[in-house]
């Protein structure tokens, strides 16, 4: 494993000797797995490589120069902010350069105009803290408080608090994007000045190119700087309490409150979300997988299984929760009003409030995604859709049915239909399906399940968000477009003619299916004899 000496020297001249290495031990530290998001699976084993070289730029200009060197010497590279997003954010081919962006950690906040400018290395919890010190907030996406703000916003970027705020596209303001050939694109108001306050600018809006629905996983350049919209919050700061592992944010009781309602049935659950949305109240309205309650209660993995092992299909089928976060954004009276309206709605639906802790462990500052690995050791959110609430419910149930066929190796969850909730005050419904397994088991079933979910979505006409880089492009592309795949590949060719930027994405899952013998049995879609891209190995 190596990149050419000439290329190495050129890169070293950009960042200095301290911030580049090809030492095998240091590069080993950038291995994707075997643990982590979507790790311990065939994709991780077959598709990821240890980088041949790692470079740590400090500025956008350095990133540009690095990318130009990569184009000059045909060095494939992958942008990497925190490495949390599993194998898809790691090197995929031999002799690849990993561009670790953690030193791009500049941060500015414009309190008056309510936005923050972050570099690729800035994660969510510091941003949230800085925002809250000033009476504002952001949504920390389900990816977690440890996720890079930029990486999360060009990929996912939602949480239960999206009930109020909605899709992340709208929070992306002025942005700097280094294209795969090193050219710098300034988006939004940055295109015409130094102030990134506005996301829309002259010319085409490239935010769609950046992220589409759930991003392109670093195959169309490197976002080095982004202005992120901050939103007004209530003025009393939630205070951290406790010693790890039992820490939480104590909520100011007259300004913030989580309430869990037990509702009589699924229809009431959905109706509650619609009615709360219609009334335009609450900061979050959600139904999360029921085993999350057991995670929250358990002191350890073994205790989780004690608790969860007591459940069965009947108990899960008949247990319906709606979890609501009230926030007195403008006043205590407003929160009181919201609570009264909420109680009326829930009473009409025959729902009962359950005892709820006056604190937040999961969504406001912490966004505790790391806890997802406690139960089994391996985890991925296999799909998410953003459509309608009614659609979200069907989606989850279809997933639960399909999952039965692959349990084990997937974790027994007794038919829980996953996570669904309101987005944008009920104008959209969100559904996410999460799966868990033990990576020491035979994971062929998990690899199959992952691709079979695409087929299910196509059959049932579910509008999945995980297109392109997450699934075989030649399976999903012809069905979502009908020429989605051709269009995406043309975009890739146009912006990255050498395919140096994170090859073979967006065809990575296609390549995986071709390489992994155990995937052949489920491959029933057409692919070209030769994938239309340069061969890297």
């Amino acid at each position: 494993m190596a990149i050419s000496k000439k290329a190495y020297n050129a890169l070293e001249s950009i960042v200095g000797a301290k911030y580049i290495t090809d030492d095998p031990a240091v590069c080993e530290g950038y291995r994707s797995g075997p643990g982590g998001y979507e790790s311990g699976l065939g994709y991780e084993r077959v598709m990821t490589k240890i980088p041949a070289c790692v470079v740590l730029p400090r500025t956008t200009e350095e990133v540009q120069r690095i990318v130009k060197v990569c184009n000059r010497y045909s060095v494939p590279y992958v942008p990497y902010s925190t490495g949390f997003y599993g194998p898809r954010s790691h090197c995929h081919v031999e002799n690849e350069l990993l561009v670790d962006l953690k030193r791009l950690n500049d941060f500015e906040i414009d309190e008056k105009h309510m936005y923050a400018v972050v570099g690729s290395g800035v994660i969510y919890s510091p941003l949230q803290e800085e925002a809250m010190k000033r009476g504002m907030y952001v949504i920390i996406g389900g990816g977690g408080a440890q996720a890079s703000v930029i990486a999360n916003l060009i990929g996912d970027g939602w949480s239960p608090l999206s009930h109020r705020i909605g899709l992340p596209h709208r929070r992306i303001l002025g942005t700097e994007l280094v294209l795969p050939d090193g050219e710098l694109v300034k988006m939004g108001s940055l295109a015409v000045g130094e102030d990134p306050f506005w996301g829309d600018g002259p010319g085409p809006d490239l935010r769609g190119l950046l992220r589409g629905f759930t991003g392109l996983r670093g195959c169309l350049g490197i976002v080095t700087k982004m202005a992120v919209k901050l939103l007004p919050f209530q003025p009393e700061k939630p205070m951290p309490t406790g010693i790890a592992p039992n820490t939480a944010l104590a909520l100011p009781e007259h300004r913030m409150k989580w309430i869990n309602y037990q509702v009589p049935n699924k229809a009431a659950q959905v109706k509650a979300m619609f009615e709360i949305s219609k009334a335009e109240i609450a900061g979050a309205v959600t139904k999360v997988p029921l085993f999350w309650r057991a995670i929250a209660k358990a002191e350890c993995k073994e205790e989780f299984w004690d608790l969860w092992g007591k459940e069965n299909e009947e108990t899960i089928k008949n247990f319906h929760i709606v979890r609501v976060l009230l926030i007195g954004f403008t006043s205590e009276e407003q929160m009181k009003y919201d609570e009264n309206v909420l109680n009326d709605i829930m009473a009409e639906l025959g729902s009962q409030p359950r005892a709820t802790k006056p604190s937040d462990e999961s969504w406001i500052k912490n966004a505790d995604s790391a806890g997802m690995w406690l139960m089994c050791g391996s985890y991925v959110s296999v799909d998410y859709i953003i459509e309608t609430l009614s659609h979200a419910v069907q989606h989850g149930e279809a997933y639960a049915d399909l999952k039965k066929k692959y349990t084990p190796p997937l974790m027994p969850d007794y038919g829980d239909p996953g996570w669904f909730q309101s987005f944008e005050l009920g104008h959209q419904g969100y559904s996410e399906f999460l799966v868990y397994w033990d990576q020491d088991e035979d994971t062929t079933g998990v690899d199959h399940f992952y691709v079979e979910t695409s087929k299910m979505n196509i059959r049932n006409r579910f509008y999945t968000s995980l297109l392109g880089p997450h699934q075989p492009l030649y399976l999903t592309g012809p069905k979502y477009g009908p020429n989605y795949h051709q269009w995406l590949l043309k975009v890739k060719d146009e912006f990255d003619p050498l395919w140096v930027c994170h090859p073979p994405t967006p065809l990575a899952h296609d390549v995986f299916v071709e390489k992994a013998e155990w995937m052949k049995s489920i491959k029933d879609w057409e692919v070209p004899k030769k994938f239309p891209m340069p061969k890297w190995e």
Binding site: E28, I243, P245, K301, E302, W305
Partner: protein, 429 residues
């Protein structure tokens, strides 16, 4: 589902293969816990990875490297040794991981060093020098053994026989005698009768920490026998590193539990806090100063007692019998703060990173000897927090912290005063 036998024995790195293989790069080991995240500044708690930005220097990188070591994929090299040893093993990564995942990060890191020694690659030359010093002079500095009690002054009362034995340790005996003197005076003032070990030797902290288990075990046996011979019921320390060594790592070396030591291990802050609560320690002299307190790792997140464990891992990674994970919850967080609060006139201010989220001074566990740059960087980084909160005095509870901070203050040209908590309390008697 087949099960796998394992134990928490650091002599075999394989025991931690499961833990290393389940690291998810959430970097809970690196960032301050998000609930307590103080903002954009002071957002990390890992000295190694703050000092060197490459992932290999964070626990998440080291877990991957540890697996590669098990699989024989990496050859020993100076860089690999630097990755393994440029690390104060401060436990921030361990409690960070156990916030969510319960992986044995701290033990994995210790086991990597043991493997380095087993295979003749480790420890670092500076550590070998410490080992030589200890073998020759029973202290890690190579100072004459006969000077060990030189810190004692005529006004300090030492009992011939007492329930409490004050184990002074190498640092307070030779390098920071003011800590030993202050602690003794506070004990005298609080009417806590104490004795010293007739012939005190090094506790072996550095030897253990760099993976020289055989040498450390011999010292552990010797010291435990010496305590038992005195009939002491409690061993008290002013050194956080020594406290951790006696309470956690002696039992670990001897495959017994902390409770099986046969005596209690306490830190000075516990004894003083108890005396304060009983009313036998009275602090009356005002100190009009703005103070910040640094939680020394050995008495905070590394302080949970040790219990040996062996069992089997089965379905979904569950273990049998049940394992009580050490998550740092036994840390002595309240006691030093109680003591500081009792000083008349003193104004106490918390730094942005406190308790289990503290940023280590960077001196301990073989770091300052082999990687003085890292130790200096870490202390200077922490001093930025002291300046941020406008404290005039930084208080710690370990001579290693005090010495390292004091050096950094001198190098910086700061006007921050660094004191040990024993000195602070003594000054208010």
């Amino acid at each position: 589902m087949p099960t796998t036998q394992f134990s928490l024995d650091i002599k075999k790195l394989d025991n931690f293969a499961y833990d290393m293989s389940r690291c998810i790069k959430c970097k809970g080991c690196y960032w301050v816990e998000h609930t307590y995240m103080p903002g954009v500044r002071f957002s990390t708690r890992c000295p190694s990875n703050t000092w060197n930005d490459f992932d290999a220097y964070g626990a998440f990188g080291k877990m991957r490297i540890g697996l590669a070591m098990i699989e024989g994929k990496l050859k020993w090299s100076p860089k690999l040794l630097e990755i393994i040893y440029a690390d104060p093993l401060c436990g921030a990564c361990d409690v960070g991981c156990k916030r969510n995942l319960d992986l044995e990060i701290g033990l994995s890191l210790e086991a990597m060093r043991v493997k380095a020694v087993q295979e003749g690659a480790g420890p670092m030359p500076a550590h070998k020098k410490v080992a030589e010093n200890i073998a020759k002079t029973h202290n890690q500095f190579g100072a004459p053994h006969e000077n060990r009690k030189k810190w004692l002054t005529a006004d300090i009362k030492i009992a011939e026989k007492a329930d409490v034995l004050y184990f002074v340790g190498c640092s307070a005996s030779y390098v920071a005698p003011e800590i030993a003197r202050s602690a003794a005076k506070v004990l005298n003032a609080a009417n806590i009768s104490f004795m010293l070990m007739p012939d005190e030797w090094c506790c072996g902290n550095t030897l253990f920490s760099v993976g020289m288990l055989d040498e450390a075990r011999e010292l552990a046996k010797r010291n435990i026998e010496a305590v038992k011979a005195t009939g002491a019921k409690t061993v008290m320390l002013t050194c956080a590193e020594g406290y951790r060594m006696w309470k956690v790592d002696y039992p670990k070396l001897l495959n017994i539990s902390t409770a099986e030591l046969g005596f209690n291990v306490v830190h000075f802050v516990e004894a003083a806090d108890e005396a304060l609560k009983k009313g036998t320690l009275r602090l009356s002299k005002p100190q009009n100063v703005r103070l910040a307190y640094h939680d020394s790792c050995g008495i905070s997140r590394l302080a949970d007692p040790w219990t040996p464990y062996s069992g089997e891992r089965g379905w979904m990674g569950t273990v049998n019998p049940r394992l009580k994970r050490r998550r740092g919850t036994s840390g002595l967080y309240a006691q030093p703060r109680n003591l500081i609060a009792a000083i008349p006139g003193a104004s106490f201010v918390e730094m942005p990173r406190t308790r289990e989220n503290s940023f280590c001074c960077g001196a301990g566990r073989g770091t300052k000897e082999a990687f003085p740059d890292l130790a200096s960087f870490s202390a200077k980084h922490r001093l930025e927090e002291v300046r941020e909160v406008g404290a005039e005095t930084l208080v710690s509870a370990c001579p290693w912290c005090k010495n390292n901070f004091s050096q950094a203050v001198r190098q910086n040209g700061d006007n921050i005063k660094v004191v040990d908590i024993a000195e602070l309390i003594s000054a208010s008697l």
